[in-house]
């Protein structure tokens, strides 16, 4: 009889889709229950943070964290998890790269609070009420965690041992995590620190669509703009923006199989520092290659301008961990 693994699943700025993804294991979840002893999983069971705090240091064998570090509370939980866990796994795009929450890190021309609580068209807030970290009502002080200046990946706050990317991580990847847990329970062995539990190549390897020898496309269009989609042909020559060439394999082409371009939730491969920049370099290189010498700057501009929000397009999930994010300077708004 093997020893059960103590598992804790903590969360930060997350939609909890990662929790749902774990449940997507279906009957395999039963194996998980045989394998682990849950020490903390507030989304699924009745746990409070105190339950985690009460544990001895390193009492948790594997601590899984999903979500970005958006608030002071997120950072606090992450640090506690680190303290209580032998190994920590960053789970999901947000914990890995900052994910969608990190897109708020981009420089806006106004205060983020104003934007969210005042100026969005759907907001009716004449008194300009914004969340405060503390407020006194009838002499009772109520507090809320503070919003950090930026939403970051887990690694920015604590040391992370393993990475499971994806938004959310796909079932096959979670199954791999379960296999890792099994191995750990049986032999005490773990993969090398820093391992990414996903493919080593890019999505193209497993997407299954046929690629012409030479890829070229005229413009970027949305899937709904395609007159007649070829269900077997690579999406790029059909003009559909697909981040697959730059994105780590592991999802088995979940989106591309449904005629939807990859949006990059598994992030870049090990060799790439900035997912978006690499994709930009690749994509622009393939724009109407045959007539690139005749194309005027205006024509090129027209095509490139069809991407209304390059940052949102190429960094949907990875902005928080990109080089370009490190670059942005508040003093330098144009």
């Amino acid at each position: 009889m093997m020893k059960k693994i103590n598992l804790a699943i903590a969360l930060g700025a997350t939609c909890a889709g990662c929790d749902v993804a774990i449940l997507d294991l279906n009957e395999k979840i039963l194996e998980v229950f045989d394998l682990v002893e849950f020490k903390f999983w507030p989304t699924a069971m009745d746990f409070k943070l105190d339950d985690l705090k009460k544990l001895k240091d390193k009492e948790v064998d594997v601590g899984i964290y999903h979500g970005a570090i958006r608030t002071t509370e997120d950072a606090k939980i992450a640090k506690i998890l680190r303290q209580k866990s032998k190994v920590v796994v960053a789970f999901g795009a947000c914990a890995n790269f900052g994910g969608i929450p990190s897109l708020a890190n981009m420089p806006f021309e106004q205060d983020m609070f104003d934007l969210v609580y005042k100026d969005v068209p759907s907001m009716d807030n004449p008194e300009n009420t914004v969340p405060l970290t503390s407020v006194k009502i009838n002499d009772v002080e109520l507090t809320l965690p503070g919003i950090l200046e930026n939403a970051d990946a887990l690694e920015e706050v604590i040391d992370v041992d393993y990475f499971v990317p994806g938004c959310p991580p796909m079932v096959p990847l979670i199954e791999q995590v379960v296999e890792v847990l099994k191995l750990y329970a049986n032999t005490g062995k773990l993969p090398p620190k820093g391992s990414v539990i996903a493919g080593t190549k890019t999505l193209c390897e497993e997407c299954g669509r046929t690629k012409p020898e030479k890829i070229s496309f005229k413009e970027f269009i949305s899937p709904q703009e395609v007159d007649e989609m070829d269900p077997d042909l690579c999406l790029l020559p059909q003009g559909i923006l697909c981040l697959g060439p730059a994105t780590r394999a592991g999802c088995d082409g979940l989106c591309t199989k449904m005629n939807v371009g990859c949006r990059g939730c598994l992030g870049p491969t090990d060799k790439v520092k900035d997912h978006g920049l690499k994709m930009i370099s690749a994509l622009t290189s393939l724009l109407e290659v045959e007539i690139e010498e005749e194309m005027t700057e205006e024509e090129l501009d027209k095509i490139v301008d069809k991407i209304p929000d390059p940052l949102g397009t190429f960094y949907r999930f990875t902005y928080g961990k990109s080089l370009i994010y490190k670059l942005h300077s508040e003093e330098e708004l144009i």
Partner: protein
Amino acid sequence: MSKTTQITELNSNPNVVLFLCRWCSGKGADLAGTSRLHYPTNVLPIMVNCSSRIDPQHVVEAFLEGADGVLITGCHFGDCHYKTGNYKTFRRMALLSRLLKQVGVNPKRFRITWISATEGAKFAKITTEMVEDLKKLPPYGKNGKGGDS
């Protein structure tokens, strides 16, 4: 997260990372030398075979390492030693410059220009111009107050 635009001190000594290609702009830079055309020492050259070797990540890394400006140079269209390398460079950098703009990098900090082997004078002029432009901006990156790194 206050987003006010404030010009702090100006930069008297900006760094410009200059990418040269081996065939046209590199020879143009050499010609500026043999013609003894002066330009500021702030321009720090790095030579690659073709401007198309430059990865957009290199440009961003240069800023992160403390460059106040990045200048990419290559052959004129139609003259590329590698047929179409400069077209590729131009396209990549066109989208990169939009991205840089989105994250708040002043467009004056990032330029791309074509310099032939005979354009020593143009080379000296462009590099001087770029340095002068950057002197009117605050320092960037780790040497200054802007930037996160």
